[in-house]
Symmetry: C2
């Protein structure tokens, strides 16, 4: 199991497998096959088997995969079988939506601190937490020992916020600001910008309506 050289693209597919397996388990589907998963995910069955083989042998020849077992293995591989603490920077509309996003709770991701630099917001409550001044960002992150940060500030401030999160010890950033962050390669970034998604789709649309 040479886990160090698993291609990143494979790691990005694993959560999709986990999501499909979780759905199967919830509908009491106890066994599945690479072909069934492939049909659900729109990926080839060979690719699924190959991806999984990076991490071990999870299936039984002739039978396929036991859903709960494979799901648990993927949860272990992705470290999705444990609780994660996160800090949120930015308590605007987007920050509010993120705090209330139910899927985080369901998957055991918990926001444990919220920061903003607007004096009007500091001290207020949001999702049971008191909004703290952005000055405290670095020290608070270090104190809490948090590894994941969520950025929901305007684009102009995102890079600086990211750097401060990293100085506090954050190693993974979920970035909702519409800007490309420039960070050390040992820090993981996942950016979410719906407009980027829309623009790459409208490229293909008809110039009408």
């Amino acid at each position: 199991m040479a886990l160090t050289d698993v291609p990143e693209i494979v790691v990005r597919r694993l959560p999709l497998y986990l999501r499909a397996l979780t759905a199967l388990a919830e509908s009491n589907h106890l066994v599945t096959s690479s072909q069934e998963l492939a049909a659900r995910l729109g990926i080839s069955s060979a690719q699924i088997r190959k991806d999984l083989s990076y991490f071990g042998e999870f299936g039984k020849q002739g039978m396929g995969y036991e859903v709960p077992y494979l799901r648990d293995q993927l949860r272990r591989i992705l470290q999705a079988d444990r609780h994660w603490s996160m800090v949120l920077v930015g308590a605007g509309d987007l920050g509010h939506a993120i705090v209330n996003y139910a899927s985080f709770k369901r998957w055991d991701y918990e926001i444990v601190a919220i920061f903003d630099n607007d004096p009007a917001k500091i001290g207020r409550k949001l999702g049971g937490l008191t909004i703290r001044p952005a000055d405290e960002l670095e020290s608070a992150v270090r104190e809490l020992g948090v590894q994941i940060g969520i950025i929901a500030v305007p684009a102009a401030q995102a890079q600086a916020v990211a750097e401060r999160l990293i100085r506090g010890g954050v190693r993974a950033i979920l970035n909702y600001a519409p800007v490309s962050l420039n960070l050390p390669s040992d820090v993981r970034v996942h950016s979410i910008d719906p407009v980027v998604g829309l623009q790459s789709m409208t490229y293909y649309l008809n110039p009408s309506s």
Copy 2:
């Protein structure tokens, strides 16, 4: 200019270029180079030049690119220089956040109809629009001539909603439901699932804190 065989991965990068150019233009930066863009985006300069060369010659040797000109060209290529109408399905918490997401307005994407299947929500107002029954989805989409749909319903209903949107004439779907949609290849899908992003990052994190 053989626009038909532009790799999809190139099309997915164009919005990032556009975003960077828009930011440069807003700070009155009139000229840039592939190297400057590369440094901002964390992409190689050769790649940027090659990507742009699929669509024409936009720069001047020795000089680089004129920011407003290249920005406008990218807006034209991506059809980001016009207004787009969208319909939203799902008026829960997520749907509310999407309606209030300011970046859509700023980039001229407008939600023109909202649907839900919850009788308690139908008839209520959201963002100036009356929430309509999901029964009307197909016919209303067809009547409005909308090409873009946003899905913000529970995972279990997302596939069926997507199929109805498509029957109504939708050609591009922004999918916030945590499920892989299985759709005809001529329909574009962009899925946003923050949990998938987090899981692919936690794979790389330390098993601590």
